[in-house]
Amino acid sequence: MAAIQRRKFDTLIIGAGGGGLRAALKLSDADASVAVVSKVFPTRSHTVAAQGGMNAALANVLPDNWHWHMFDTIKGSDYLGDQDAIEYMCRAAPKAVYELEHFGVPFSRLDNGKIYQRPFGGQSQNFGGDQAARTCAAADRTGHAILHSLYQQNIRARTHFFDEYFSVDLLKNDEGHVLGALIFNIHDGQPIIIEAKTTLLATGGAGQLYRTTTNAMINTGDGLGMALRAGVPLQDMEFFQFHPTGIAGRGMLITEGARGEGGYLVNGDGERLMERYAPKAKDLASRDVVSRAIATEIREGRGCGPNKDYVMLKLDHLGEAVIQKRLPGIRQTCMTFLGIDPAEAAIPVFPTAHYTMGGIPTNRNGQVVMPVKDTPEEVIEGLYAAGECACVSVHGANRLGGNSLLDILVFGRAAANHIIDYLKENRYHRSMDEASVNKAMARFQRWDKKAEDGGESVSALRDELKAVMEQHCGVFRNDEVLKEGVQKIEQLAERLKEATIGDHSDTFNTARVEALELENLMACGLATMHSACARRESRGAHSRIDYPERDDKNWMRHSLYSFESGLDYKPVRTKPVSVDSFPPKPRVY
């Protein structure tokens, strides 16, 4: 085989969503040579789907300050968020917004010319007082506007893009320094070694782990899989945010606004199910309560449809005029993806996986950290992570709306700042370890194995994985369900080792890409299932029927799952940078 092409850069960034592009821009503007590798064209990254907005205590509409934002984020995290990182993020938020404005993001305005801010759930004034208005938005396309502005700025700053290249694995030397990655060109299947003094993972979340998800097909946890295979543990993977009302079998969100307008859920017996689970709030109970109620109804055989695997959201009693005026987007989505007009018929719904709170553990500089001997957070030299694939942890057990765009921008920038300093002190590439290259190449070439050897198909295994995750690690969790899930996913992981693909061509071999993606998803699934099975409490998005209470004494700690050591734990960083700690309190709204 011909020698593998090699390219050298100061920094390799894997992923071209908001986190990756924010870091790339800062680095390119500082005259670092930056390669951004993305499996799709950068402006097709999942950041484009973020509609809500970005939190910052600008106080343009109502009184606000970063300290209240910090309190809300810690409370929202169910006290699992690291308070130093949360303080850093909330203090940095206004600057992050103004920077975006200078990059060309057209934030919606108030009549006085200031940036408009809308109220969102979980926002308060005065540490739990009146509703705050903290979310800055560019109409309903904030993520799109941010992504496009950052991409254009990166073109100006001459960032080098590898579009439609897939990253296989990180490359390391004997001392554990990360020195780049093996990637390949999806167009022609040719591998390239990117040698980099620093590598930033910014690959987004892993929503494709679940059968019903709001996430795009690209969200396959690629960076998370790469980290695990490089010996880095994943943190708090049991915390996956579900939205209660996704379109069943499809995944798209039906916003809470539909229930806010008077919509309600019914089971297969035609009963209004929420009356039994939340007699007062009924259909407007919090997301986790509604999600669990739907899952319970289905598990107990009261679902709707031929397989009794969804419930119905009724809006038809509201009348066509109200639906068209208040919920036009939902009406169009239902008509397109279900052929159902919600003004005439009920919508089949099921909880849909939305956001990966866990991820690659980092400190607030974006440096990836892991326990080494007695040190819980030893820095891995040369490796950084930012955005949904990282776990700083600012979202803890539950993310607040408007904090995800903020997270990617603040920590994309923070990682770049640290990398700039690192590059000043590490001016030369370290020599590449060929054993690491060979290992990555072996993974890449493993899929050349021919189908006549009788391996299972990748797509069938992917469907099984999603079903196992949904049934055993969705919103309904108890010891029995999770233990069975652990067994099933361990078996699936073994079977994947023998799977084969039918296409062995080099040109746009999407079968190979999907196989590599499934390996990443399987890694995420293992981490998620094991971490969820072990955590015997209910906190934020992790809700156990058999352990319904939060247990701060035993479980106010981060989970770490690695292939090498299984589960480990580390303490939550409860000490902020400059202010007093917020001690845990019951999370009631």
């Binding site: 950041t47 279900l338 089949p348």
Partner: protein
């Protein structure tokens, strides 16, 4: 055109990977159900459609916006019709 004549199903399928689930589903449904029936011109036109930005494409496909290009507009109508037959029945929910 010669290069476009050779556009493979997998190349189109990869270009249908977008930042939004809705687009993934609609665009992939079109490729899965129609690729074998597409002429070289159809494939080239579809590739042209895929060059639009995600938000714009979603606006077209969910009928929030009308494309100014009539050939694109006709393609959108065709995609919507094909997706109707794929998605618009309760039986399709697995």
């Amino acid at each position: 055109m010669s290069e476009q004549n050779e556009i493979s199903a997998s190349q189109l399928r990869w270009r249908c990977r977008r930042g939004m689930l809705e687009l993934d589903m609609l665009l992939n449904a079109y490729v899965e159900m129609e690729y074998d029936n597409l002429s070289a011109e159809d494939k080239a036109l579809f590739l042209k459609l895929l060059d639009y930005q995600d938000q714009e494409l979603l606006g077209f496909l969910l009928e929030k916006k009308e494309p100014s290009d009539v050939t694109i507009s006709a393609l959108i109508t065709k995609i919507r019709s094909i997706c109707n037959s794929k998605f618009n029945c309760m039986k399709a929910i697995e």
